[in-house]
């Protein structure tokens, strides 16, 4: 099953990049986390503001200047700071964390330019200013949602204005195999060429995932794969060889032999 929407980009160096696009689900998760963080920050600011206002009124109350200072503190804390927090939060984090906010970090997504390069500060600010339209009717992001549903790249209006897209970050450990570090024992066996690319996908999936699954399931799955591979290729498992070792050897031999097909 094609799991996610994808964007293919050809770089000027003729390198094809395939980017998994973030959809409504992951973006909604990120937005929820960011909104909760903003809410907590606003509550803290209001509490601190209330304490400061009470403090400044009490200590400066006898001065004519006291009321002015108190009102200014109130205005800054109750109007300016929440305004900056609401409008600056996304732009600030996306600029300093290269397209990610705390919510986007949690969801494992990142904003980049549609050409694949990181977005600039101006693009980032432009994208986030358009939230004022995307959020309509507040707070359900109706405009943004309809816009995202109607284009294949899941872009909201802000993304169209700034030329940005949101993609899934790929962790390095998810692309590095957890097998293949043992030296190859024995010569290449020509019978293994009977196996197809799908057989290799099956073996590699098992080898990459074997430590994550239950021991009983792991043992029975390995046994079944070994029996199937031995039957399909005609290469039996050697005496004393474990199922995992047999599958590693087969996968290494297919990979190494691929160059000579």
């Amino acid at each position: 099953m094609q799991s996610l929407d994808r964007l293919d980009i050809d770089t000027p160096e003729q390198i094809a990049l395939e980017l998994p696009l973030a959809g409504i689900g992951s973006r909604f998760l990120a937005l929820t986390v960011d909104s909760l963080l903003q809410l907590v920050a606003i509550i803290v600011i209001f509490l601190v503001g209330a304490l400061l206002t009470i403090g400044s009124s009490a200590s400066l109350g006898w001065l004519a200047l006291g009321r002015f200072v108190s009102q200014t503190v109130e205005a800054v804390i109750f109007i300016l700071v929440p305004f900056c927090l609401y409008w600056g939060y996304f732009a600030f984090f996306e600029i300093i964390w290269q397209g990610r906010t705390p919510g986007k970090r949690v969801a494992g997504i990142r904003v980049i330019h549609q050409t694949g390069r990181p977005m600039t500060a101006i693009e980032c600010i432009g994208r986030n200013l358009m939230r004022a339209v995307d959020i309509l009717p507040p707070p359900i992001y109706g405009v943004g949602l309809v816009c995202m549903m109607c284009n294949a790249q899941n872009r909201r209006l802000g993304d169209f204005i700034a030329g940005t897209i949101v993609v899934h970050d790929k962790a390095l450990d998810s692309v590095s195999p957890t097998w293949g570090d043992k030296p190859l024992a024995g010569p290449l066996q020509p019978e293994l060429r009977k196996l197809s690319a799908d057989d290799l996908v099956l073996i590699e999936t098992y080898l990459n995932r074997r430590y994550e699954i239950d021991n009983f399931v792991r043992a029975s799955t390995a046994q079944r794969i070994v029996a199937m591979i031995a039957e399909r290729s005609g290469v039996p498992k050697a005496a004393g060889q474990t199922d995992d070792d047999f599958l590693e050897t087969v996968a290494r031999q297919i990979r190494d032999g691929a160059n000579f097909r």
Partner: protein
């Protein structure tokens, strides 16, 4: 080609939910809308009877409409699970095909959900009674404040218990529809799959339900505003108009968004099977043994 799957992160799972929904919009909306079409005449009839001041008939029609609404939702859920299953295993999908595949499970699913409802009602009764008895006992031997504090603590503990049970049972629908077990088997299966992953299920459930509720509310509000636009001010008709508009709003929102939560739960069910049982490898082996071999191309070295 064989079907290649892998464990999904929470955000990938949410994305896949909306990806399936958007790319098969008509199928999922059709599945959700068909049973609701039988509910709509009852709820609209209730509103019409209210306008004619036939209150008893109106209440009877409206109540039976809302009862049927839940039954319709269960039926649509079973068909949605079948549709997601077909999409997950890369088989062709359609509204008729999904209902035809789900029809064997309909009675079983309704019975299981009814039993779960009874269990929950029983639990509410027992825990509520225990809390009331404890508070009453404490209030007589100690002061009232202690009773209130204990009531809050016991109430909190009961809520945690309900939540845990709810999450344990959250995968019952896909488990019974796809595997065919009855009450005990399906509940055990769901509990086993949810084991250790309850927080994730809770997060996905809250986000999807929250999302669909917000959008459904917005859709229903659009219809309520229609009353203001049509300037219905007669107090005798405004209640009937509101009921009619709510019935239409409920029909549209449940048809449009009713399947999203079920898609998410079915994907969680499959994801847990991939993680815990190597279901992806099972599928690959079945694909290879079934002769669905890809051309023997060289794997990229």
């Amino acid at each position: 080609m064989i079907t290649v799957l892998r464990p999904l992160s929470t955000s990938e799972l949410l994305d896949r939910t909306f990806h399936l929904y958007r790319n098969n919009f008509l199928v999922f909306v059709g599945i959700a809308a068909i049973p609701q079409l039988f509910v709509l005449p009852l709820t609209l009839g209730g509103a019409a009877m209210l306008a004619r001041r036939s209150f008893a008939t109106s209440i009877a029609l409206t109540l039976s409409g809302y009862l049927l609404f839940y039954l319709a939702a269960f039926i649509a859920q079973a068909a949605t699970v079948q549709a997601v299953s077909c999409l997950y295993t890369e088989k062709p999908v359609g509204i008729g095909k999904s209902y035809s595949a789900a029809k064997k499970a309909l009675l079983r699913l309704t019975w299981i959900l009814f039993l779960l409802f009874l269990v929950m009602v029983g639990l509410f009764g027992v825990t509520g009674g225990l809390i009331a008895a404890a508070v009453a006992g404490l209030s007589t031997v100690s002061n009232r404040a202690t009773g209130i504090v204990v009531a809050f603590l016991l109430g909190g503990a009961a809520l945690v218990l309900y939540l845990r049970l709810f999450l344990n049972w959250s995968l019952v629908i896909p488990a019974t529809v796809l595997e065919g077990g009855w009450f005990k088997t399906s509940v055990r299966r769901s509990t086993a799959l949810a084991e250790g992953r309850r927080w994730r299920i809770l997060v996905v459930y809250l986000l999807v339900i929250g999302f669909t509720m917000i959008i459904s509310f917005a859709v229903q509000m659009l219809f309520v505003f229609a009353i203001a636009v049509f300037r219905i001010r007669d107090p005798e008709h405004i209640q009937a108009a509101l009921q009619a508009v709510q019935a239409i709003g409920l029909f549209i929102s449940s048809s449009l968004f009713g399947s999203v939560a079920t898609i998410a739960l079915t994907l969680i069910y499959y994801d847990e099977r991939v993680r815990k049982e190597g279901f992806d490898m099972e599928l690959m082996m079945a694909g290879l043994q079934g002769g669905q071999q890809a051309a023997a191309t060289s794997p990229s070295a």
